[in-house]
Symmetry: C2
Subunit: 216 residues, 2 copies
DNA sequence: ACAACATCGTTACAGATTTCACAATATCGA
DNA sequence: TCGATATTGTGAAATCTGTAACGATGTTGT
């Protein structure tokens, strides 16, 4: 199904659109125009319509887009047929915040296992997620067919833990450690680099650069 | 001083380079080639050399770049002359993790005040940062000349708190709430949208897209 | 029934960003 | 001293990304 190549940026915007559309649906709004969605997302109307080409969904003039139908169409592109599972490595300050945030939020993409090397955490259930010892990562990730991981271990451990994840079959990593991971070319890594982002903000705050950022 | 227009992406990469260079310096390495820095950062050597043009620093053939000199040159571009101060709004799970992470790390860009509306937190010092009541935000931000803020309040409160920050003179916001903030055009907003990023990772993990991401 | 209208889908364009390619050059070894 | 060599800096080409423009189209009001 679907296009072989949807760009990075487009995927990010579609995910954002979907969240905005869900908000609209909760407000009882069932139709939306490209310029309305654009305004909510902070992009141009042309951008929204262009992104819709990737989805393959067509609205109608005068009515615009059907909110529930569009949510479903975006889901057809972004979501996998069967639910995906994610693992989290490193249940420290950030790891716990993240598990709390995602707990019970996405049925199609949930954190189903956490790993740490701190014996005090292993065996406990934190924010609805069971914590295992890092040494058991391989078998558990393989058994549960986990392909997505969130990496929140200290920078010094990040590469080593990433290697374990990759060996166990993980194909996508959301990396919070301020380190560039070395992974095989078929593994996708997204770096959330807070230090870099904060320096960016500080720089442009000083420069007075006119705002507006696409979703990271 | 310096160029009027350095791109978004270039600023992010320069911040990354600087961190990598600091690591090298700690290892006692005092010279580096563009292809080495490129490999560490996950970009091409041509990209590194192109970014150096924005900095205005020149290396020499055969020797490459001087690590300490390059760190200084990047600092001349990225850092402000006098230290910048940042505020954090919302000392919840994520806010506490972030203050812990940045505590005592950057002398030139430190979190110097936190704000919350939870009376239990107000008045306490958490991770070396004093917590004030959100209602006192305006005067304190103005007095301390704070221009940069990190926003980690619940999504429902984000716009309102952002308005307070902007009124107090903040010109750059690192926003973690899954909401698109409305701010005047002279205020720079960087969205760290974890939900969007996780969906991106899940999507490309499935697609088998060949990796490699620029710094966010 | 049909004209007026606002919006959609798509193609063509423009701008930004990255990569390529190569002349210029500083250093090392003979 | 001087040639050999690997690297730099940068103009030009290529690619990626977003914007603009416009014909096509469905709806509404009369
Ligand atoms: N806290 C933040 O806001 C923040 C911001 C930016 C980046 N980061 C990065 O995120 C990562 C985690 O940050 P944190 O503040 O949560 O740190 P933390 O020290 O609170 O948590 C790290 C966790 O990883 C566990 N751990 C250590 N070694 C391990 C190993 N080999 N295998 C499995 N688990 C291991 C520790 O037991 C701990 O629970 C770090 O790389 C940090 O640089 C954090
Ligand atoms: N925790 C995560 O990993 C994570 C991930 C992605 C996004 N986010 C977003 O970050 C934000 C914070 O997340 P969290 O998990 O820390 O939530 P949290 O509920 O733990 O923390 C929110 C904090 O904000 C304070 N607060 C509430 N209203 C306020 C107001 N009007 N003024 C000042 N302070 C106020 C609360 O007292 C609390 O301390 C949310 O918008 C969340 O969606 C969090």
């Amino acid at each position: 199904m679907s296009e072989g190549s949807v760009s990075d940026k487009t995927v990010a915007r579609l995910s954002l659109y979907r969240r905005l559309l869900s908000d609209l649906l909760n407000q009882g709004i069932r139709n939306v125009y490209s310029h309305q969605l654009a305004s909510a997302a902070g992009v141009t109307a042309a951008q929204v319509r262009r992104d819709m080409m990737a989805v393959g969904y067509s609205g109608t003039p005068v009515r615009g887009y059907s909110v529930p139908d569009l949510i479903e169409s975006i889901g057809n592109l972004l979501d996998s047929a069967q639910a995906q599972s994610a693992a989290l490595a490193g249940l420290g300050n950030l790891g716990r915040a993240i598990t709390a945030y995602f707990a019970g939020r996405r049925p199609k993409l949930a954190i189903v296992a956490a790993f740490d090397n701190d014996p005090y955490k292993v065996g406990r259930v934190i924010n609805e997620v069971e914590c295992f010892h890092i040494n058991d990562l391989g078998p558990i990730v393989e058994q549960r067919n986990i392909r997505v991981a969130i990496l929140t271990v200290p920078a010094s451990e990040a590469q080593q833990v990433a290697d374990m994840l990759v060996r166990a079959g993980v194909k996508g990593v959301l990396n919070f450690a301020p380190v560039r991971l070395r992974v095989p070319p078929d593994v996708y890594v997204e770096n959330m680099d807070m230090a870099v982002c904060l320096e960016k903000v500080a720089f442009f705050a000083r420069q007075g650069r006119t705002t507006a950022e696409a979703p990271s």
